[in-house]
């Protein structure tokens, strides 16, 4: 699979500084996004530690194991099925996220001024046709496939948990004044539970990683529309950020957009690609 990627981040229209951070590691096909929290500039410290640690730790793990290093270019493992065993990447990602958690926690322990800082973390790792996800908090991953937007992560927030337990409806959750209450975040405690998942990918899939500054300002339909309207991932990410700002830009906003395609393009695949689009 071929992956084309773009990312954009903005402070928004209300906040003084941007506590979001993201990292695109093309050679690993690893994409990491973090939304920091905490007074002064400490949210920025936390999110920076988060993305840096995850990116570096994954790179180290891949290079430490020659068996998995070859997969880094995405070619040799191109046909791993969606339901293949592995889980190796999920374990690597989870361990990287736990390490980031410890680093943020200890940094805050050592510096009294950083007390209470924390961050969300969402990471996507593509290996052939397999997507491995790890996340803590309420930054999300979406998959756009065939015009439908699917959320691939479950928020670790109070309102999302209340919806899962049937206490409130999704519509009520969107209006709740408790939306900012997270149940899990990096840096809050020495140990953190990391949620991981795997998903099979297909040609023409579009992935979006984003902070809550986007999802609180822009609805699913608008997001799906923006992703479909712009073929260039970099421009699509910028458009989404602009959309969040147009709608009020209440928080920092970050978007990473990934487009997937078949490795080889011949006239036939162009034909099928075109036919499918028109046929819908």
């Amino acid at each position: 699979m071929r992956v084309v990627c773009g990312g954009s981040s903005d402070v928004g229209r209300v906040r003084a500084n941007n506590e979001d951070a993201y990292r695109i590691v093309d050679e690993l096909r690893l994409y990491v996004l973090s939304d920091g929290m905490g007074g002064e500039a400490h949210g920025e410290v936390a999110s920076a530690i988060a993305v840096q640690t995850v990116a570096e730790h994954c790179a180290e793990l891949v290079h430490a194991e020659p068996g998995s290093a070859r997969k880094a270019n995405g070619k040799s493992a191109a046909d791993t099925g969606a339901n293949g065993e592995s889980g190796e990447r999920a374990m690597m990602l989870a361990s990287a996220v736990r390490l980031a958690n410890k680093k943020i926690f200890w940094s805050a322990e050592k510096n009294a001024a950083q007390k209470g800082m924390g961050a969300t973390l969402t990471a996507a790792w593509i290996d052939g046709r397999k997507l491995t996800l790890a996340h803590v908090g309420d930054s999300r991953v979406y998959l756009l496939r065939g015009g439908d937007l699917h959320q691939l992560t479950s928020d670790h927030s109070l309102v999302a948990e209340q919806v899962r337990r049937g206490i409130i409806t999704p519509a009520e959750a969107e209006k709740s004044d408790m939306q900012s209450v997270l149940l899990r975040a990096l840096g809050a405690q020495l140990e953190v539970e990391v949620e991981t998942g795997e998903q099979g990918l297909m040609a023409r899939d579009v992935l979006l990683l984003c902070s809550d500054g986007l999802t609180r300002m822009v609805g699913d339909v608008e997001i799906a529309g923006a992703l479909q309207a712009e073929g260039d991932p970099q421009k699509a990410a910028e458009n989404l950020v602009a959309l969040a700002n147009e709608n009020g830009g209440a928080d920092n906003v970050t978007a990473i957009v990934l487009r997937l395609d078949e490795e080889k393009k011949n006239w036939l695949s162009w034909f099928w690609g075109g036919a499918n689009k028109n046929g819908k």
């Binding site: 049937g166 009520e172 209450v181 809050a188």
Partner: protein, 242 residues
């Protein structure tokens, strides 16, 4: 303050305000709203405030609790809702303000300003999430969360007879990425997809439109326990299993 009025026909039996303590409904006399009727269980249901909402929860009653004629296990209440237990009903009036049942969280939220993100530490989190079960029905809806969604194949050619929907997104089609592998020349790579959201499982169109209980879906459609799904000549039964 939210008010609950227990009625028998047009007659007002009792009126109570919802405070910090849950309001019990049942035949036992120690309930805040005692209902003297053989169709009502001793401890039939309870109503309490949670997360700024009024919630009614059925306590495994024999004959069930109904909100606006729908049988519920647990439901958020709104102003004007009617709860039926046996032959009695309870009118819900939330035009007053709900008690601040989550002082801790609210205070913390206010401290940081409503817009700033905060994390609950484990204790707060436990308290908040288990508030409902803390009143004696431990694990009642905990068990509900362990249910697995499955698709059982009733007829048609598939690679397995039953599928557990463990992924966020389950693909039905000919694609090698599909969890539910269909065969056949004209079968599309993605015939339909089932998406797991916070509030349930939704089936959406792929290159085909699936039928749910004999009707074509018009967009993402929430699946209920026992629903019959038909797609590309395959009939599937959506079931929750313990």
């Amino acid at each position: 303050m939210a008010m609950l009025t227990l009625m028998y026909g047009e007659k007002i039996v009792k009126e109570v305000a919802v405070g910090r303590r849950p309001i019990g409904i049942g035949r036992a006399p120690d309930n805040e709203l005692p209902v003297d009727n053989p169709a009502v269980s001793n401890y039939h249901a309870k109503i309490y405030a949670e997360a700024g909402k009024l919630v009614v929860e059925d306590l495994n009653s024999l004959n069930g609790t109904f909100v606006n004629d729908l049988r519920i296990e647990r439901a958020a209440l709104h102003d004007g809702d009617q709860i039926h237990v046996g032959k009695h009903h309870i009118k819900v009036d939330t035009s007053g303000v709900l008690p601040q049942d989550m002082d801790q969280t609210r205070k913390a939220t206010e401290m940081g300003g409503i817009d700033s993100t905060m994390v609950l530490d484990t204790k707060e989190r436990r308290d908040l999430l288990q508030q409902a079960s803390a009143f004696g029905e431990q694990g009642q809806f905990g068990s509900g969360r362990l249910r697995m969604a499955t698709l059982a194949v009733l007829s048609g050619k598939t690679d397995k007879k039953e599928y557990i929907l463990s992924n966020k997104l389950t693909v039905i089609g000919k694609s090698e990425m599909a969890t539910i592998q269909l065969k056949g020349w004209l079968t599309p790579a993605v015939a339909a997809q089932i998406s797991k959201r916070d509030d349930g499982y939704y089936i959406g169109m792929g290159d085909k439109t699936p039928l749910v209980n004999g009707t074509k879906i018009g967009g993402p459609h929430r699946l209920n326990d026992g629903d019959l799904v038909e797609i590309c000549g395959v009939r599937l039964n959506f079931l929750f299993r313990e």
